[in-house]
C-alpha cells in the first residue's frame, strides 16, 4: 500500500500532497516539512530509499523518492510494494505528466494542481496501484478531458470569453488597483 504521495520543490513548497490515510492539516504540513528535510539533505548520487520519517510510517514504511530538476516526488510505501517497482511508477507518473502538459515543468504543477490530482488518480487509487500502462492512462485522461469540454460546450462560451479577457488581466488590474499599472507580462518574468 502507498500511504502518501508528496511532490514538493527544492525549497520544500508543496506542489501536490495526497494522503491515503487521514492526517489533519497541521500534521500534513509537518509531514511534508519533515520529509523535505530528510530528502533534501541527500546527495543526488545516493540511493532513492529512505527509512521513513518519524511522523509518517514506522518500521514497515519506506520513503521512495526521485528528484527531477526542481521537484521531489516522494512516495511513502509499506513493505508490500516493490522498491524498484515504485521507482518505475514514479517514472511513469512523471512521464505521463510530461505527455499531458507537453514538457512539464514546475509551473505546470503549480497552476494545474487539480489536473495533476486527476492524472494521479488514474495511476493510484486509495493507496493501491491502479494502472501502470502509460498509453492506457493517457487514453483515460483524454476521454475525461473530452467529457469536460463537451459539458462546457455552449454554456461556457461567456465564461471562456471572460477567461480570455482575464488572461489579458484587465480584471486583475481592476481588482488590484493598488498595484502599479505594469502589464502582467512583466510580472510574469519573476517566475
Amino acid at each position: 500500500m502507498i500511504k502518501a504521495i508528496l511532490v514538493f520543490n527544492n525549497h520544500g513548497k508543496p506542489r501536490l500532497s495526497k494522503f491515503y490515510e487521514y492526517f489533519n492539516e497541521d500534521m500534513q504540513q509537518q509531514i511534508i516539512k519533515e520529509t523535505f528535510q530528510l530528502v533534501s539533505k541527500r546527495d543526488d548520487n545516493v540511493c532513492n530509499f529512505l527509512e521513513g520519517g518519524s511522523l509518517i510510517g514506522g518500521s514497515d514504511y519506506k520513503l521512495i523518492y526521485r528528484h527531477y530538476a526542481t521537484l521531489y516526488f516522494v512516495f511513502c510505501v509499506d513493505s508490500s510494494e516493490s522498491e524498484l517497482g515504485i521507482l518505475d511508477l514514479i517514472q511513469v507518473f512523471v512521464e505521463t505528466l510530461d505527455k499531458c502538459f507537453e514538457n512539464v515543468c514546475e509551473l505546470d504543477l503549480i497552476f494545474h494542481a487539480d489536473a495533476v490530482h486527476h492524472i494521479l488518480s488514474e495511476l493510484v487509487m486509495g493507496g493501491m496501484v491502479l494502472q501502470t500502462n502509460m498509453s492506457e492512462i493517457l487514453a483515460r485522461i483524454e476521454e475525461q478531458n473530452r467529457l469536460v469540454k463537451q459539458e462546457a460546450g455552449l454554456s461556457a462560451a461567456p465564461a471562456r470569453a471572460v477567461s480570455a479577457v482575464k488572461s489579458m488581466n484587465i480584471p486583475q488590474q481592476i481588482k488590484d488597483m493598488k498595484l502599479p499599472d505594469l502589464p502582467q507580462a512583466i510580472k510574469d518574468l519573476k517566475f
Partner: protein
C-alpha cells in the same frame, strides 16, 4: 428578479479562478497568510451563491488552499453539493476536494451514501470512476456496509475500467467491513481470470494485500497464481504474485519446489531489474523455508549470498541498498553464510549514504541469530562504531549508532561480551560522547543490569560510577542523559560494600545540583545506604567522633533536599534527616554524659560506652539495606498464584456513590507516583519494623520492580550461559590501573589492545598444534580462537514460588488496531445462507434531479447539519434502549434530508429475512400515498 440573477451571475464571472488564486498567492509572498485569509472570505461569499459553477470554482480553490495547510472541513456541505452536481466537471472537483479533506470519521459523510450510490450506478463510466476514486480515500464502515453491494455489482460491469476500480475498492470495503469478505470472495477469485489484464492485476493486488497479513487463508489460490505467473507478461502483476509466493512459502514449504522452475525462467528472461530483484527475494524465501534445518541446501544459500554480494558491490546505490536488505533476510536463518562477507558489510558502514549505513548496521545485529557479531570481533566492531559516532553528523544517526552498540553488546544476555570492565568503559564513553542523546535511560538500564548481574565487575562499576558522578557535566540540561545519574547513584549506593572509598562516593552524592526529582530521590536513598555502610565501619572501629562528624555533615546537607518541590524527594529527605538526627542525639547523649564525668580522659570510648540505642539504630539501618537485589523475571507478576479464598473482583469497601467518583479520581491522580519511584517502599519509617516485616516489604518491592522499566527484563532462559562453559573458567583478577581522565585514545581501546596481545601470544603457543587442528576441520579452528570470557553473567531472576519460566504465553503479538486481524477469515468454508451483502431496496432517490437537491441543501443547510447530529445522537440512544418503535416515529416526524439510509438499514439488519420482504412490500405500498419532499430519501416514508 431574473435580471438581478443574471447580473449576479455576470458579476461572478469576475470571481478569481484557481489560476488567479495561485497567481495571487505567488504575488503576495510576503503576506501570504493575509492574502489567503482574504481569499477564503471570498470563497465563503461564492459558496453562498446558487450557481453550481460558482460553487465548483470555489471548492476547487479550497482544495488548493487545503494543500497549503488550511483546514477546509467547514466547507464540507458545499463539497457534498458540488459532488452531487450532474456535471462531470463539477463532480470531479467535488470528489477531489472530498478525498482531500474527508476521512472515515467525518460526520458529514453519512449524508453522502445515496449520492455516491447514484454515482456508482451512473450511465457514464467516468462518473462512477471518479466516485470510486474519491470514495477510496474516505470510506467509513457505514459506507462500506451500505455500498458493498453496489461496488460488487460494479465488479461485474461490462466496462473493464470500472471493474478494475471496483475490485480495488473492495479491498477498502473489506478493511472497514470484514463481514463482506466471505460473500465477496468468490467474485474476487473469479476476477483473477478476468479477460482484461488491468482487472486481473487489480484482483492480484487486492489478494496480495489480504494475504500479506493472513497468508494461510489464501493457500488454496496457489494454483491460480501459479498459472498466472507462468503466463502473464505484466511485470507489475508478476512482482505482486512473486511477493505473494514469498509469504506463502513460509507456511507451505512444499510450494517452494514447484516455484523454483518458473522463477528461474523469469530470472533468465526478464530485463526488468525490479522483477529480477523480487525473484531473487522469493528464491531466498523459498530456500530459507526449504532448508531450515537441512544442511544440503547451504550450497544454494551460499550461491544466493554470492549473488547478493555482486548487488552490494554494484555502483548503483539502489542495488546496494536492496542487496543489503535481502542479505538481512538470509542472516536471520543462515548467519554463518553472511558472516563470511563481514568485510563487505563493515565497508558499507563507511558509505556516504545514510540509508545504506543503516541497512549495514541492521546486519550487525539481528534478533536470535546474532548477526555478524561474535565474541572475537565484538570489541573491534564496537570500536569502529564508536569511531563512526564521533564523525557522524545528524543526531538521529548518532542515536541510532548508540542504540545499536548497546543492542549488539547486550544481545543474548551479553553472550558476546567477554570483558565487562570493557563494556562498562564503553558505556561511560557513550555517555560522554552523546550528552544530548535520547537514549539516556537505555544506557542507565544497561549500567544497572550489568552491575547487578555481573558480580565481579561491581567494584569496578562503583569506582567508574563515582567518577562519572564527579565528571558529569553540569551544563547539559537537554536530552535524557540525566537518567544515567539515576543508575550511577543507585550502583554507588547499593554496592557500597564493594567500594574502597565510600566516603568519596558519599561526598559526590552530597554535592547538591539541580536534577529532576526522581533522580534526587535516588540520590537521597543512596546517601543513606552509603552512610549506613560507613557508620557500620566506624562503629566497628568505635570511632564515635567520626560518626558524629558524618552525622553533622549529612544534617547540614540534607535540608536543601527537604525543601524540594518534588514530593518524593521531600519525604525521603525528611525521613533521612530525622533518622540521622536520632542517631546523633543518641550519640550525643552518651558523649555528653561522659564528657562531664571524666573530662580529663581521652575520648577513647569503649563499646559498652556507646549508647545501645545508637548501635541498634545502625544495625537496623544496615539490616534495611542487607541482601542482594536480583532482577525479576518479566512475567513474574503474571505468574503470582492467587491464594485460595482471595477474590480480586470483590469490593474491599462498598463502592462509593456516583457523585463522589470524580473527586475520588482527582485524589488518586494527585498521588500517581513518578514512573521511576523505584525504592518507594524503602521509606525510612520502616526502621521500627521487625526483620520479618522487612523481608515481606522486600518481597513486595521485588514484585514492583518487575514492572519497573529500570530493571532489565531478561527473556532468556537461565541456563543459556552454562552452555558456553563460562562457569568453568576461572575468573581472572584484574588489577588494572584505569586512568580516569579521558585521553585522546579511548579507554576502551586498551581492552582491545590487550585482547589482541593475548591472542597473539596464544597463536604463538598454538602454532605447533594448529597443523593438526587443520586436519580436524574448520569448525574446531574457529572455536579455538574464541576469546575466553573474563566475567560471568548471572542469569538468576526472581520468580514467584511455584511458577516456572516459560515463553509460551506470548500470544498477543498482533496489533489490536490492525484491521487485518478481523480479516483472518476462513475463505474455503461454503457460504452460509445469511452471509450476503446488505442490499438496498429503495432507488427512488435516483429520480430526483440533483440540481434540485443541491438547491434544497443550500436552503436547509444549517438545519440539516443540526439535524444530522441530533439524529445520530438519537440513534445511539435508541440503540441502547433497543426500542425500534421510537426510532420509527422519530423518522416520521423529522424528514431525513439528503437521505441517510443508515437508520433504516440498521433496523433491517436485525430483522429476519422474511420479515424484511414483507416490510419492503409495505414500504412500496405506502410510498404511493406519500407526498414527497424533494431530495428526501425513503426511510422517513415508512408509514405504520
Amino acid at each position: 428578479m431574473a435580471l438581478k440573477k443574471v447580473k449576479g451571475n455576470f458579476e461572478r464571472f469576475f470571481d478569481k479562478t484557481l489560476t488567479d488564486l495561485v497567481r495571487g498567492i505567488r504575488n503576495n509572498k510576503d503576506n501570504e497568510a493575509k492574502y489567503i485569509a482574504q481569499c477564503i472570505e471570498e470563497v465563503k461569499q461564492e459558496l453562498r451563491q446558487d450557481n453550481i459553477n460558482v460553487k465548483c470554482n470555489a471548492v476547487a480553490k479550497l482544495t488548493y488552499i487545503q494543500m497549503l495547510g488550511y483546514d477546509i472541513s467547514w466547507a464540507g456541505f458545499n463539497i457534498i453539493e458540488v459532488m452531487s452536481s450532474s456535471k462531470f466537471t463539477c463532480k470531479r472537483v467535488g470528489y477531489l476536494a472530498a478525498s482531500q479533506c474527508f476521512h472515515p470519521d467525518s460526520e458529514l459523510i453519512m449524508l453522502t451514501t445515496n449520492m455516491i450510490r447514484k454515482d456508482l450506478n451512473s450511465q457514464t463510466q467516468y462518473d462512477a470512476g471518479v466516485a470510486l476514486s474519491g470514495l477510496s480515500c474516505f470510506i467509513s464502515s457505514d459506507l462500506s456496509r451500505d455500498l458493498a453491494n453496489d461496488i460488487m455489482t460494479l465488479c461485474s460491469s461490462t466496462k473493464p475500467y470500472l471493474r478494475m476500480k471496483a475490485v480495488l475498492m473492495m479491498y477498502k470495503v473489506f478493511l472497514r467491513y470484514p463481514e463482506a469478505l466471505r460473500p465477496a470472495f468468490p467474485k474476487l477469485k473469479e476476477k483473477l481470470e478476468d479477460p482484461d489484464p488491468g482487472v486481473q492485476s487489480a484482483a492480484v493486488n487486492v489478494i496480495c494485500e489480504l494475504a500479506r497479513k493472513n497468508p494461510k487463508n489464501y493457500l488454496s489460490l496457489a494454483p491460480i497464481f501459479f498459472k498466472l505467473m507462468t503466463t502473464s507478461t505484466n511485470n507489475w502483476m508478476l512482482i505482486k504474485i512473486i511477493k505473494l509466493f514469498a509469504s506463502l512459502t513460509t507456511i507451505e514449504p512444499a510450494l517452494g519446489y514447484k516455484l523454483s522452475e518458473p522463477l528461474i525462467a523469469i530470472i533468465a528472461s526478464t530485463s526488468a531489474m525490479s522483477l529480477l530483484y523480487e525473484c531473487i527475494n522469493t528464491v531466498i524465501a523459498v530456500l530459507i523455508s526449504i532448508s531450515s534445518g537441512m544442511p544440503n541446501h547451504t550450497a544454494s544459500i551460499q550461491l544466493c549470498v554470492q549473488k547478493l554480494r555482486i548487488l552490494i558491490e554494484d555502483s548503483d546505490q539502489n542495488l546496494k541498498y536492496l542487496g543489503l536488505l535481502a542479505m538481512s533476510k538470509i542472516l536471520k536463518t543462515h548467519p554463518k553464510s553472511v558472516q563470511a562477507h563481514k568485510d563487505l558489510i563493515l565497508a558499507c558502514l563507511d558509505d556516504k549514504d545514510e540509508s545504506i549505513r543503516l541497512r549495514a548496521l541492521d546486519l550487525l545485529f539481528c534478533g536470535k541469530g546474532g548477526g555478524m557479531v561474535s565474541k572475537k570481533n565484538l570489541m573491534e566492531i564496537v570500536r569502529r562504531l564508536l569511531g563512526h559516532m564521533e564523525r557522524a553528523e545528524g543526531s538521529a544517526y548518532r542515536d541510532e549508532l548508540l542504540f545499536k552498540v548497546i543492542q549488539i553488546c547486550s544481545q543474548g544476555s551479553y553472550q558476546y561480551v567477554t570483558n565487562f570492565e570493557w563494556y562498562l568503559t564503553v558505556l561511560v564513553e557513550l555517555i560522554q560522547l552523546e550528552a544530548g542523546s535520547k537514549h539516556g535511560s537505555v544506557i542507565a538500564k544497561q549500567l544497572l543490569d550489568v552491575s547487578i548481574r555481573v558480580q565481579d565487575v561491581r567494584q569496578f562499576a562503583v569506582s567508574e560510577m563515582t567518577s562519572l558522578l564527579e565528571s558529569f557535566p553540569e551544563t547539559t540540561q537537554s536530552g535524557s542523559m540525566f537518567e544515567v545519574l539515576y543508575a550511577a547513584a543507585w550502583i554507588v549506593g547499593e554496592f557500597s560494600s564493594d567500594s574502597n572509598e565510600p566516603e568519596r562516593s558519599l561526598n559526590v552524592l552530597l554535592k547538591h545540583r539541580s536534577l529532576p526529582g526522581h533522580i534526587q530521590g535516588v540520590y537521597i536513598q543512596n546517601i543513606l545506604k552509603l552512610f549506613t555502610r560507613i557508620v557500620t565501619d566506624l562503629l566497628e572501629q568505635k570511632d564515635v567522633q567520626g560518626i558524629l562528624r558524618l552525622c553533622n555533615l549529612l544534617l547540614k546537607k540534607l535540608p536543601t533536599y527537604v525543601s524540594s518541590s518534588h514530593i518524593e524527594v521531600q519525604e525521603r529527605a525528611s525521613s533521612a534527616f530525622v533518622l540521622i538526627e536520632m542517631l546523633r542525639d543518641q550519640l550525643n547523649l552518651v558523649s555528653d554524659s561522659q564528657s562531664h564525668v571524666i573530662l580529663s580522659q581521652v575520648p577513647t570510648i569503649e563499646s559498652s560506652e556507646i549508647a545501645i540505642g545508637a548501635i541498634e539504630i545502625v544495625q537496623e539501618m544496615a539490616l534495611l539495606f542487607a541482601g542482594d537485589l536480583n532482577p525479576v523475571a518479566p512475567k513474574a507478576q503474571k505468574k503470582v498464584q492467587i491464594p485460595e479464598g482471595l477474590n480480586l473482583d470483590e469490593w474491599i469497601n462498598t463502592p462509593p456513590a456516583e457523585s463522589s467518583e470524580s473527586s475520588e479520581d482527582e485524589q488518586t491522580d494527585l498521588f500517581v507516583s513518578h514512573e521511576q519511584t523505584e525504592n518507594s517502599d524503602r521509606k525510612t519509617k520502616t526502621v521500627e519494623l521487625t526483620p520479618e516485616e522487612i523481608m515481606k516489604l522486600r518481597e513486595v518491592r521485588k514484585m514492583e520492580q518487575s514492572h519497573n522499566p529500570n530493571y532489565l527484563k531478561s527473556t532468556t532462559k537461565p541456563n543459556q550461559i552454562v552452555k558456553d562453559g563460562c562457569e568453568d573458567i576461572p575468573i581472572a583478577e584484574l588489577a588494572l590501573e584505569v586512568p580516569l581522565k579521558i585521553t585522546s585514545t579511548k579507554r576502551s581501546d586498551k581492552y582491545l589492545q590487550e585482547d589482541q596481545l593475548a591472542s597473539k601470544k596464544k597463536t604463538k603457543k598454538t602454532k605447533k598444534t594448529k597443523k593438526s587442528k587443520h586436519k580436524l576441520g574448520i569448525s574446531s579452528e574457529s572455536d579455538g580462537d574464541e576469546p575466553v570470557a573474563i566475567h560471568s553473567v548471572s542469569n538468576f531472576i526472581e520468580m514467584p514460588e511455584g511458577a516456572s519460566l516459560s515463553d509460551n504465553d506470548e500470544k498477543d503479538k498482533h496489533d489490536i488496531n490492525d484491521p487485518h486481524r478481523a480479516l483472518d477469515i476462513d475463505l474455503d468454508l461454503p457460504l452460509r445462507n445469511d452471509e450476503i451483502l446488505p442490499k438496498q431496496s429503495y432507488k427512488k432517490f435516483n429520480e430526483i434531479t440533483p440540481q434540485l437537491t443541491a438547491n434544497i441543501v443550500t436552503k436547509t443547510e444549517v438545519i440539516s447539519t443540526d439535524k444530522s447530529i441530533r439524529e445520530k445522537k438519537e440513534k445511539k440512544r435508541d440503540k441502547e434502549r433497543g426500542s425500534k418503535k421510537k426510532a420509527k416515529r422519530n423518522s416520521e416526524n423529522e424528514p431525513d434530508l439528503m437521505g441517510t439510509p443508515v437508520k433504516h438499514q440498521k433496523e433491517k439488519h436485525k430483522k429476519e429475512k422474511k420479515d424484511k420482504k414483507a416490510k419492503e412490500k409495505k414500504v412500496k405500498d405506502s410510498k404511493t400515498g406519500y407526498e414527497e419532499a424533494i431530495g428526501i430519501s425513503t426511510p422517513s416514508k415508512e408509514v405504520y
